[in-house]
């Protein structure tokens, strides 16, 4: 019997002929579009796919993309990066976080800088690696600086579950988990973004479409979020905002198919929530993971997003019963509280709100590069600026 190999998970979804076939279908359907459309890919992972595989080069001129705020590293405001820096500076602390987080500059520098000055900062692929670090360093306090959307939250919850069940005394959490639908609503509530809520599927005028800015007509929803939450979290968008949503996978064939599904909705006058990534997304999602999240987390009143500002109920915090593990409470006296704004030339905020594209920034690729980032969008592998810088734009 043939086993399932890793390559089965991606080979077919990068197939050249399938991609070309979808490009042709989209091109033909786009001729029937009543007006040009702007699709926001909410997630930085999709931005990355779009740039890496040159998907913009395959689209007709009446379909444009607006890059969204879904990059957990990009939306982290400087004061929270300073939290990580200050925690890492403590003599008995090992600060653990995920990949790109160590490169983002706060007001004191990045975690990478902190480490080169002697702080013990480690990055892991799985939060569970904290268990090993804590075991090997019993006299240190291991603080997991938890970041990410609904996708990564269950792993943080699972780590806490493990810590409690095994009575581990030296693992703490600094929680920066945020949620996608609240950010999408905030973008639409933004006055400039706001659409008329007539019963017709709205589409911008041609003049507006020439400068797509923030005139969002449809969303590509991140599939990995929905693997956990189910597709149900996006129901409100077609219903209340007349905004089609297609939950899309991250391979180029997934993205092309999802674009085609959105175009068909406009051509056929539909406005629906559809799932392209059917191979892993259900309506309800992963109930076990949701249960674990609900056990340990609750909504915080607000989370301050870089670029988007305070968004009510968009962040998570540990429930009161688990505050003994909350580094933000334990280290309250040393953590800076003042909000810090970005460098005045940096337009990450506008980019995260879908109001500007990276090449419009005056310091893009000059003062701000992946090796010397000024804004977070240039740091993260999911950041829009990093994607533009890395893959260029050869259209």
């Amino acid at each position: 019997m043939m086993g399932l190999e890793l390559k089965n998970l991606y080979d077919d979804f990068r197939d050249a002929d399938t991609i070309k076939a979808y490009a042709q279908i989209i091109k033909e359907d786009a001729l029937k579009l009543p007006k040009p459309i702007n699709i926001m890919e909410v997630c930085g992972g999709h931005t990355h796919t779009i740039m890496k595989y040159g998907i913009l080069q395959l689209l007709p001129s009446n379909i444009k993309f607006i890059h969204g705020p879904g990059c957990p590293v990009c939306i982290m405001p400087k004061e929270r990066i300073d939290h990580a820096y200050v925690l890492a500076e403590q003599k008995d602390v090992i600060l653990v976080t995920l990949g790109d987080m160590i490169k983002v500059p706060g007001s004191k520098g990045s975690l990478q800088d902190a480490r080169s000055k002697g702080a013990d900062v480690r990055f892991v692929y799985s939060p569970m690696d904290c268990l090993k670090i804590a075991r090997e360093n019993p006299s240190s306090k291991v603080i997991f600086f938890a970041i990410g959307f609904e996708t990564t939250t269950p792993m943080t919850a699972a780590l806490l579950d493990n810590v409690i069940k095994n009575g581990i005394k030296n693992i703490y959490f600094h929680i920066n988990h945020v949620t996608v639908p609240e950010a999408m609503s905030a973008l639409l509530a933004d006055e400039d973004n706001n659409k008329s809520t007539t019963s017709v599927v709205p589409a911008p005028s041609e003049a507006e479409a020439a400068h797509p800015r923030n005139k969002i007509n449809a969303f590509l929803g991140p599939s990995h979020v929905s693997v956990i939450t189910g597709s149900k979290i996006y129901e409100e968008f077609p219903r209340d905002f007349h905004m089609p949503v297609v939950v899309a996978g991250f391979e180029p064939v997934d993205v092309m198919q999802s674009i085609s599904m959105i175009v068909k909705q406009f051509v056929e006058g539909r406005c629906e929530l559809e799932v392209e990534y059917k191979r892993a997304v259900t309506y309800e999602g992963n109930l076990k993971a949701q249960e674990l999240i609900n056990k340990y987390f609750e909504k915080a009143d607000k989370f301050r997003w870089r670029g988007l500002g305070d968004i009510p109920k968009s962040g998570l915090k540990l429930r009161d019963a688990f505050k003994e593990f909350d580094a933000e409470i334990l280290y309250k006296n040393i953590l800076p509280t003042q909000e810090i704004n970005d460098h005045k030339l940096c337009i990450c905020g506008d980019i995260l709100r879908g109001k500007a594209s990276p090449p419009e920034c005056t310091i893009f690729g000059t003062a701000c590069k992946p090796t010397s980032p000024i804004g977070s969008c240039m740091v993260s592998s999911e950041g829009a600026c990093a994607a533009y810088y890395k893959y260029g734009n050869l259209v």
Binding site: E5, I19, K20, Y53, Q57, K117, P252, T371
Partner: protein, 330 residues
């Protein structure tokens, strides 16, 4: 540049280049050094001269160990300049408490690899430092080679040249990473760590005129292509589907979010030569590895840039890798 040295400064990519040019080139500036070749060409073009230090962790990995790597690394740098490796120095820094048996194993690997290259160690140094001052063992080798074909240089590639690759890419980086992360693959993934002089000798013996060669170590194939594009002021256009990547390496890249083109290699090299010699060179290289092939052409589309073309007709830049790729890969 930052005020302290970060791990990214040793990545073989962007930050590494910045450190080298702003600190070392600035201080040591001279005509030979500024050519930025794999090995310096000295003594009227007759000799190639190069040095390399090895800090790989783990010391032993599938397909090699730090000893084999220490000889391959320096000898390959000489071979890439069309030189036959002749004389090496070997300098080791050992941590107190290191097991003699492991040291003997490492030295035996070095001996074996020296014989493949036809080189000998003619001078050495040994330092033992207190526990914690170094992690187990670091090795430096320096080598002198006799230039067999003159004029090979990364600064001379033109639009008359095409770009060849000797094998599938990324095996060393993927192996080291999988070992460190404890990823067990039911597969034959192993480092490509190999001496490349036999390949070079075969090409030269067949009277192939080589424009440039470079082994794709830290920073991988994308670093070499970008270095060439900048040094020779050319545009290199590569067809992505022609770059061979094994299923195992692709799998590691998928799991960990790497690009195979940025992964380190220790027996993989790129070759620039005139188009008319490409078929003959490919055939010679295929005797060593069946995946050898022509992967790209040289144009003037975007000077100093590398363009990667997809099978579905789109194209993008392939940039020099940045960030903390993988410390202690070699």
């Amino acid at each position: 540049m930052t005020k302290t040295i970060s791990l990214a400064c040793g990545n073989g990519g962007e930050e590494n280049n910045e450190l080298i040019s702003k600190v070392f080139y600035k201080a040591f500036k001279n005509e030979i050094l500024e050519k930025s070749e794999d090995a310096a060409i000295i003594h009227g073009g007759a000799l190639a001269f190069s040095t390399d230090s090895f800090t790989v962790s783990p010391l032993f990995f599938s397909g090699g160990d730090i000893g084999k790597l220490a000889v391959c690394g320096t000898c390959n740098d000489l071979a890439m300049m069309g030189a036959a490796p002749k004389y090496l120095t070997c300098s080791v820094i050992i941590e107190e408490g290191f097991e003699l048996e492991q040291l003997e194993h490492i030295v035996a690997s070095m001996k074996k690899e020296l014989s493949i290259n036809g080189a000998i160690v003619v001078s050495g140094d040994t330092k033992v430092v207190p526990r914690g001052s170094v992690d187990k063992i670091f090795i430096n080798t320096t080598g002198i080679g006799e230039v067999l074909q003159k004029g090979i240089s990364s600064n001379n590639i033109t639009e008359e040249d095409v770009i060849l690759l000797n094998r599938d890419i990324g095996c060393h980086g993927a192996t080291i990473f999988a070992t460190r992360e404890g990823i067990e693959m039911s597969s034959s993934l192993q480092s490509d760590c190999t001496s490349l002089f036999p390949h070079v000798q075969a090409l030269i013996n067949a009277n192939i005129k080589i424009t440039a060669m470079r082994d794709a170590t830290r920073g991988g194939v994308s670093a070499v292509l970008n270095e060439w594009a900048k040094q020779s002021n050319i545009c290199i256009e590569v067809e992505e589907e022609k770059i061979p990547v094994s299923d195992e390496v692709k799998g590691i890249c998928e799991m960990l979010g790497f690009e195979a083109t940025a992964l380190a290699n220790e027996g993989t090299f790129l070759l620039a030569l005139k188009k008319e010699d490409a078929d003959a060179a490919c055939e010679i290289l295929r005797a060593f590895n069946p995946h050898a092939q022509m992967i790209g052409i040289v144009t003037n589309r975007h000077a100093k840039k590398v363009i990667l073309k997809s099978a579905w007709g789109t194209s993008r830049f392939l940039e020099t890798p940045t960030g903390e790729l993988l410390p202690r890969i070699c």
